[in-house]
Amino acid sequence: MQSLLKRRNFLKAGFLSSAVILTSGCDIFGVTTSRDTIKILQNDLFPKAKDLGINTADYITIVYRQHKIAKRDKEFLKNGVKWLNETAIEMFKQTYTKLSSLQRQEVLREIVTTQWGESWIDTMLRYIMEASLGDPIYGGNNRQAGWKWLDFEGGKPRPKKVYL
């Protein structure tokens, strides 16, 4: 039973933990996981969350499970991880996760000039804000740290069970 549960959880988190293989022509240029990329990217986009003790990367697992988020939006999120890493390889011959902080900022400044890149960062920031400022029942907004940061009391009553 335990192994079944583990497998189910693994499948649920499949997108985050499976390898993103990056090629250029026939050569494999790099292998990373979406989780690693997203974790580093989210900290680059909104380091305040880490200061507040909020884990925003795991929230993406919830996003992937959510039936009210369209499949194509989930696909876009997934493809963006690949495209971000491809841009990193093009610019610095390394996956995003292996770049220095300054190099990663350069990559972000590069992709934001493209339509997909700006849209993808916008999407990612919105999920970061959901994780940081949504009800703590979803696992983000640790001890209401996001709300306290913005002097926000939260609406009452709070949810007793998760919807997402």
Binding site: L125, W147, L150, P157, K160, L164
Partner: protein, 556 residues
């Protein structure tokens, strides 16, 4: 067999359920959505606002939208691909659960738009077939049964009332309303406390408002908000069947005989009743009738006039805002500004009609309210810098913190007539179907140029108030983009069966036992939100149906 089968449990259907079941008749209400109530409502922004938990996913149920330009050309939008949704609250009580409850009566002149203001080129303006005086007793009834709080202030366009004031006192308001009132005095405008369908005290077996700070878009867990569920369905014995999507009506010899519905898993059921009342919200009511073709009604049920689905209207206008920033305020003013929970509740109706040059225009209403407290939405509005570039990192966090904690936004909403036109209507698609296999609705959209001119005129007045109050970053948008939650028309009522779908009692001209009591009946919409008028009209029709059933009972 039921005496009455009502399709839709919102503001259009529930007054019938309440009145008829309390009169001893056997009533069933078919509701597509689920039951949520005071025990389950909460302020979960992620679920309610970010994931629209009360509306169906667009990949399961969508509309096709054709947006017409003034030249008559249109652009087609697939609801699923574009994300353009016209769904509201799919739940017991409908979208009245989620309304803000800004309640204004229509004015006497709204019932005589053609006679009062004349023809408008390119618009199908007509007078209503009932007068304000005929509806007034029912507006009054809504104040008492649904519960409306407010305070009557005399002004040029105050409508006649049969009682001097509202049955419930005004809700508490934020101190910034004093700044508003002072600005209006300087400008010689008349501030009106906005009437609200929210109880300011315990009454009617419901709790008073507890000032949660989250009213619009959310269900109310005190029961203070006058939703059709809290105020009516929970106060009567009508049977409500949830998860019941009605997809077709059958008729025989001039009478509706059956309503067919699917559960969400596609299990079919039928209901028989003596009288059928359709109140599925304007677009869906027309869609259901158009999808209920038979030999007698090859173009859709109750459509011998060819008017079914025509003259769809919305509330025209738009919205705007201004920001109050700490740098411009004293310590005391800052504290007043940031008082949580209390309402703003101010409206202006000084320009319900106005003269421009030699022409008298029908104007409208401006409601003022604080920006919604949804914190994620507020923060998301800060993701771009003043040049429109997306931000990230420390700079973004600093901007968010400053904007949210040291300023507050006052918004306004403009309501004016959406003039009915030939290119604004409901049809059904010949190819696209929803998850039930039922043809989806086609929404043809067109706004009349005068709608924008009037909206612009009103918005300028709102801007003047915000400027006089000391707000900065004042901005607004008046557009022909329709608010999906403020929709009416499609089944016009009228005295002539050749030019209208319903008679003056909202009974289909073509059928003996079919009534339509959501906002579909409205030939024009007035310059106010519709809900109070929908409730009032439904109570009016309830009296007609009650009389008919009592007459039948005494004969049998």
């Amino acid at each position: 067999m039921y005496d009455i089968c009502i399709i839709g449990s919102g503001a259009g259907g529930s007054p019938i359920a309440y009145e008829l079941s309390n009169a001893g008749f056997k009533v069933v209400v078919l509701e597509k959505g689920a039951l949520y109530d005071e025990t389950t409502f909460n302020k979960d922004e992620l679920a309610v606002s970010r994931r629209d938990m009360f509306t169906p996913p667009l990949w399961e149920q969508k509309h096709i939208i054709n947006e017409y330009s003034q030249s008559g050309k249109f652009t087609r939008y697939d609801g699923e691909e574009s994300g353009w949704s016209f769904w509201n609250g799919s739940m017991v009580g409908g979208s009245s659960n989620l309304m803000s409850g800004y309640f204004h009566r229509m004015k006497p002149a709204d019932f005589e738009l053609l006679s009062s203001y004349g023809e408008v080129k390119g618009a199908n303006v007509v007078d209503w077939c009932i007068s304000y005086d005929e509806l007034e007793p029912y507006y009054d009834k809504v104040e008492k049964v649904i519960g409306v709080s407010g305070n009557v202030v005399e002004h040029d366009f105050q409508e006649p009332r049969s009682t001097p004031n509202f049955p419930y006192p005004m809700l508490e308001t934020n101190g910034v309303t004093k700044w508003f009132d002072a600005a209006c005095e300087t400008l010689e405008f008349t501030p009106v406390p906005t009437p609200r369908a929210v109880l300011s005290q315990n009454a009617l077996g419901r709790n008073g408002c507890y000032y949660s700070n989250f009213c619009g878009s959310y269900g109310c867990e005190s029961g203070a908000k006058g939703s059709a569920r809290a105020a009516l369905l929970q106060k009567c014995k009508a049977k409500v069947i949830t998860d019941a999507f009605v997809y077709r009506l059958d008729s025989k010899e001039g009478r509706v005989t059956k309503a067919h519905y699917y559960t969400k898993h596609g299990i079919p059921h039928t209901i028989n009743a003596k009288i059928f009342v359709l109140a599925a919200q304007a677009i869906e009511s027309s869609r259901l009738l158009l999808n209920s073709k038979n030999d007698a009604f090859p173009n859709g049920m109750a459509n011998s006039s060819g008017e079914l689905g025509k003259n769809l209207i919305f509330s025209a206008g738009g919205s705007g805002s201004g920001r109050f920033i700490f740098e411009n305020l004293t310590k005391e003013q800052r504290e007043t500004l940031m008082q949580p929970g209390l309402f703003f509740n101010r409206s202006l109706q000084d320009w319900y009609d106005y003269t421009d040059g030699c022409h008298i225009y029908k104007g409208g209403t401006i409601d003022f309210l604080f920006e919604h407290q949804n914190i994620i939405s507020r923060v998301n509005r800060e993701l771009y810098d003043e040049n429109g570039n997306i931000m990230w990192g420390e700079k973004l966090a600093e901007k968010i913190e400053k904007r949210v904690t040291t300023s507050r936004v006052l918004t306004f909403e403009v309501f004016n007539d959406w003039l009915p036109t030939d290119n604004c209507n409901v049809a059904v698609d010949e190819e696209e179907t929803d998850k039930y296999g039922v043809p989806v609705g086609v929404i043809n959209l067109n706004s009349h140029p005068q709608d924008l001119e009037v909206g612009e005129h009103l918005a300028q007045k709102a801007v003047a108030v915000l400027e006089a109050m000391g707000a900065v970053e004042i901005d607004y948008s008046i557009s022909g983009s329709p608010p999906p939650n403020l929709v009416a028309g499609g089944c016009r009522f009228g005295n002539d069966a050749k030019t209208s779908v319903l008679d003056k009692n909202c009974k289909a001209h073509d059928l003996e036992n079919l009534y339509v009591t959501d906002a579909s009946f409205m030939p024009t919409g007035g310059s106010v939100p519709y809900t109070w008028t929908i409730y009032a009209n439904s109570f009016r029709v309830a009296d007609v149906i009650k009389e008919e059933l009592m007459r039948d009972s005494s004969h049998s």
